[in-house]
Each structure stands twice: as structure tokens, then as C-alpha cells.
Symmetry: C2
Subunit: 357 residues, 2 copies
């Protein structure tokens, strides 16, 4: 298993370190693991004068999978794209064609109390947001600044999808639905946007190849309401890059903590990038208080999707479940009566639960 470890900035290094410890513990045989660390984001700038150094990109390409922490520094949206630490992840996704972003939103029964939603609304929640990750307004051309007919400055971007881009994410979505409850909800804004009309048309066409999966369509505004009103109606939600950015964070928050949620970004085959859904969290970086479970569960997804080891995925999940049942909580999920631990101690607990299940 050849894994590129790109820990990045903010809490990235801390949570990634725990994820790596868990990875080693669950794989056991250290000869089976080849871990190569490389800098990205501000760490890339510091080490090599580039948020996405050529060397890092080469290491990522040669790996079977990438474990990613977080990248960016506060206020870096001012810095031009090519030198912006926070844009390194976007560039990496695009370079490696990681178009299928899996963001499961799962409610851990032990954490129902940490959600701001009523228990009956989120208990047992298990939905998958599948976000297209290499197209849409994130990368659409033309973009930039222009002067209007009346001489005014304008900022503009292009939302665009081509048929093949929608087709491939649709197939991933329908296949994912087959492995779950066979329901797929395609989310767009076809009542306003031509881009969404193409999206919907293609989902309907591809859906004919999956007659066993129930296909529905929902406008993005209605979807944001329904996630709050009745999230358990959803199984797989498939949507474009920008709507997926918003809806996946919304879905994540239903579960009570974004510190718990992993994600996988796949390129079609087994190659993938795995990262916690949370970002750099600069306010808590370096304090040993960040929740490492999202990074740890990202390793679990990696073992399943890139290395076809669902057994190890399940081992990690069982260990996480054990530590939660034993009352271990980082600050973000702390409730009175539970045991407050730091990043490192949470990692220790998961490693221990793996060693003595």
C-alpha cells in the first residue's frame, strides 16, 4: 500500500498523525505499508516556495492513495490562485481528475446528543452526498474580471457541465445507490439554469440503465430545506460541485460535528484522495484539541475503496464506536458526563481499541 501523506496546514498535521498511527495499527504488517510524506498548502510554500510543489504532485501521482489533512491560511483568498495555499487542494483534485467526492453523513448513536436537531429527526441517519468535484463553476471558463457595456467592473465565473462529466458522476451515483437503499436524488436548479437542465436530462437518460434504482429530482433550495426537515428521506444525493459544497456541509452538521466526517474523492478506479470534511480550523491548530476521528475514518474509507479491505474499514469503525461508547470526547462533541480528551489521547484510545477489540 503506497500512500502519499499530505498533512498540510492548521490542524491537518495533528489529525493526520493520529490517522497514520491508526493505519499502522490496523494494517499491522509494517512491510505492507509505504508512507511518503510531502508538503502542501502553506507548508508547501514554506518548504518549496509553492503551495502545490511539483515534487508533491509527483509523489501523489505515484501513490495508490492520498491521505490529505487540510490546506490554507486565513485570508489567503486575497493571494493569486497559483500561489494561494487554500487553492492547492482544488488544483490537486483537478490534476488527478478526482471527480467523485463521497461525503457520507452518518449519525453515530452515541452522538445523537451533539446534534442541534431533535433526536427523532437524526437518529439512524445514514445518507451519502455524492458531489461532482472537478467541474462546475469551480473550474469553468471564462472567469475573472471584465468591464460591462456601461463601463463598470464585474467579477464573473462560468457554471458549466458537459455531457460526459455528468454521465460519469451519474454512473457512480447509481452504482453507489445499488450498494445501499437504491434511491438516488439528483439535486440541481433546472427551473433557472441551463447547466442544470443538461444535468437533469442526463440523469434521466443514465437512470434508464438502472431501473432498480428510484430516481428523483429536487431543486437545490428545496433540498436544503428537506435536509433539515426530514433528512432520513434521502439515501444517495448526487449534485454538482458548488451545490455539493453547500449541501454536504449542511448534511454534515446534522450529525452534530464536522469533526467526525471523512470523505473520499475518487478518479474512477481505485486511486483516491481521503480527507476529513473539516478544514484547517486555524483557531484550534497546534493545541492538541482537534477531533482526529474524521481523519481516522478517512483512513477507513481508504482501506475500503483504494485497497479493497472492507475488513479493515470495519475494524476501524468498530474501534471508533468503542471509544465513543467508552465516553471519549474531544471538545467539539463534548457533553457533560463524558470524558474530555485531546487529539493525541483520542488517537491513543482508537489504537488501543484496535489492538484489544
Amino acid at each position: 500500500m503506497k500512500i502519499a501523506v499530505l498533512a498540510g496546514d492548521g490542524i491537518g498535521p495533528e489529525v493526520t498523525a493520529e490517522a497514520v498511527r491508526v493505519l499502522k495499527a490496523v494494517v499491522g504488517d509494517s512491510a505492507a505499508l509505504e508512507l511518503v510524506e510531502a508538503p502542501i498548502g502553506q507548508a508547501g510554500v514554506d518548504a518549496a516556495g509553492d503551495p502545490l510543489p511539483q515534487e508533491t504532485l509527483a509523489i501523489a501521482r505515484k501513490a495508490d492513495a492520498i491521505l490529505f489533512g487540510a490546506a490554507g491560511v486565513p485570508g489567503d483568498e486575497q493571494i493569486p490562485y497559483a500561489m494561494r495555499p487554500g487553492a492547492s487542494l482544488l488544483r490537486l483534485r483537478k490534476h488527478l481528475d478526482l471527480f467523485a467526492n463521497f461525503r457520507p453523513a452518518i449519525m453515530f448513536p452515541q452522538l445523537v446528543g451533539a446534534s442541534t436537531l431533535r433526536p427523532e429527526v437524526v437518529e439512524g441517519l445514514d445518507l451519502l452526498i455524492l458531489r461532482e468535484l472537478t467541474g462546475d463553476i469551480y473550474f469553468g471558463e471564462p472567469r475573472g474580471f471584465r468591464t460591462s457595456a456601461s463601463g463598470e467592473r464585474q467579477g464573473f465565473n462560468t457554471m458549466v457541465y458537459s455531457e460526459s462529466e455528468v454521465e460519469r458522476i451519474a454512473h457512480v451515483g447509481f452504482r453507489a445507490a445499488r450498494g445501499r437503499r437504491r434511491k438516488l436524488c439528483s439535486v440541481e436548479k433546472a427551473n433557472v439554469l441551463e447547466c442544470s437542465q443538461l444535468w437533469r436530462e442526463i440523469f434521466i437518460r443514465v437512470g434508464q440503465e438502472y431501473p432498480d434504482v428510484e430516481l428523483t429530482h429536487m431543486f437545490v433550495d428545496a433540498a436544503s430545506m428537506m435536509l433539515i426537515r426530514a433528512p432520513k428521506q434521502f439515501d444517495v444525493v448526487v449534485t454538482g460541485n458548488i451545490f455539493g459544497d453547500i449541501l454536504s456541509d449542511c448534511a454534515a452538521m446534522l450529525t452534530g460535528s464536522i469533526g467526525m466526517l471523512p470523505s473520499a474523492s475518487l478518479a474512477g478506479g481505485s486511486f483516491g484522495l481521503y480527507e476529513p470534511v473539516h478544514g484547517t480550523a486555524p483557531d484550534i491548530a497546534g493545541k492538541d484539541i482537534a477531533n482526529p476521528l474524521a481523519a481516522i475514518l478517512s483512513v477507513a474509507l481508504m482501506l475500503r475503496y483504494s485497497f479493497d479491505r472492507p475488513d479493515l474499514d470495519e475494524k476501524i469503525q468498530a474501534a471508533v464506536s468503542t471509544v465513543l461508547s467508552d465516553g471519549y470526547r474531544t471538545t467539539d462533541i463534548f457533553e457533560p458526563g463524558s470524558r474530555k480528551v485531546g487529539t493525541r489521547e483520542m488517537g491513543d484510545a482508537v489504537v488501543a481499541a484496535i489492538r484489544n477489540p
Copy 2:
């Protein structure tokens, strides 16, 4: 008070009828009111072969304010824009330059139980989403379908804002914040989009004219999380057309029912369009079960913003509060122990509460 009444489709006519009854009751003097009805949406197509008939547009232009119900029929996104019932509202907004859309999300204390969020998270919630309504990807050019360099079909739209468009909504936002808790959160995606970078730059510049208002910036994905995590941190949230479409529905749902929420769309002066946030709700149309309170509260907003009669706004709000305290509930907000009523009966109750406060 010259008011154009565009009831439209679905539950539009039912809820608008109750709103008009409440308007008449609260104004009292029937000579002071001039109500002109005109068809829009599918009703426009049926009456005049056009979802936005010239005659309707002329009536709307000549009025001091517009009371709007809802427009559209299921599946009409297939119909070309100019003939699509659901697009008539978009065209009306654009024609009348109704750029400032106020969507207050207020928690009625009597309805805390109808929210899917925990009471402590939403009790006392009072936030205002201010959505820019005539720009952005809704109207940006170019748009449509094109063929890519590799010969593939693409659907595309342009997200664009010009300086003056952002400036005018920023001023509306800062002024609104002055009348409230003096906090403005500008929401965009400046870490990815140039359009958002211009937006942020202009909010910072305009903000200097309002040193008494605290200005913060948040990315749209984080905002969707924070609305669920800790919505009371917000006072005024100002955002673009498409992000506002999503976030305002999200905020609306925090309060438990979109059937309760009014909105105002203003053009700069006192002229405005008032409409419930909910849509046509075709599944319940014509059944006398829709909640008319959003339409009734839209009339209250109209009296305040277009006719400078905050006293009448307060009368309506007090009446709505009374009927809620008396236990009247339409299906959407029904809870065991309360009294289930239909659309008409809810209207009766509000009218009675206005007559005998």
C-alpha cells in the same frame, strides 16, 4: 393604497384571498384601498396566452405595491423561459428591478415545537436574510448550450455581479442592520470565485461608511453549517441571488414551517412585491389546507415598507400571535393538543383577532 394582486397558481389564490381579507380588515376604510387583480403564471397563460401578460405587467407597474401568491406548474422547467409559468416571477422581479429581497426568519414562540431543531437552538431566533434578487447566475449572460472544443454538448450559465449591483444591496444591508442588532454577515465563496472576490471587496469598501455596524465575511458552505449549528449568531445575512435562494430556505426551515414566512422584494424606494416564501405546493392546492399566515404576514410587511404603516404591521402580527396562542394550526404546523383548521378558518381567526384585539 393601490395594490396589484397577482394570486397566480397552486395554493397562491387560496392564501392570497385570506391575505386580502386581512388587509381589508386591518385598513378598515375601504375607500383607502384600491385592489387590482391580474393573472400571472399558468393563470396568465390560461387568461391571456402568456405567463406574464403585458396587461399584468402594466398593472404591476402602476401599483404602489404588489401582493404575489405563487406561480408555476410541476415540470414546467421543460417549457422555454418566455412561456414558462414558473419563470414569470423571475421576469417580474427583473422588469421591476426588485433587487432587495428581505426574508426574515423569525421563530414564533408558540411554534418552537414545530421546528426540527432543539428548542434551545432556535428559541428567540430573529434573523434576516437579505438576498440580492436581480443579478447573479439567475440572469447572467452568456448562458445556454454550447459545444466544447472536443465536440461535446455543454449547458452553461454565467455568475456575474457588477460593482453597482453589489454596492446597492450592501447599502440596503447595512441600513437594515442599523435598524436591528448592527451585525452584518456577508456570505460568498471568495476562496474560489472571482465574482465573490468583487462582492467581498465592495462590502469592505461600503462597510467603511457604516463603522457602527460589525461586518463579517463567511463562505457559503460554512454559513450553511452555522445556520444549523448556531443560527442565533446571525443578525443580517447578505448574499447573492443563488446562495440566497439556498440559505433563505435553510433559514426558513429552522423556524419549523415555510408556511409561516413572508418576504418583501424592494426596488430601492417604497415600491415592492410581497410574497410568501413558500411556492405553489401543487399537492395541497385547492384543498383548503394551506397555511395562509405567510401571505398574511406578507401584507404586514407591505404595510410597513410600502405604506409606512408600522402600526398596521404590528396589528397583524399581534393578531397572528393571538391565533397561534389560541391554538389554531394548519396541518403544516399541527401538533397534538392544538386545533387543526383549514386555510379559510385560519383567515377567519386572524380577521376576528384584528376586529377584537
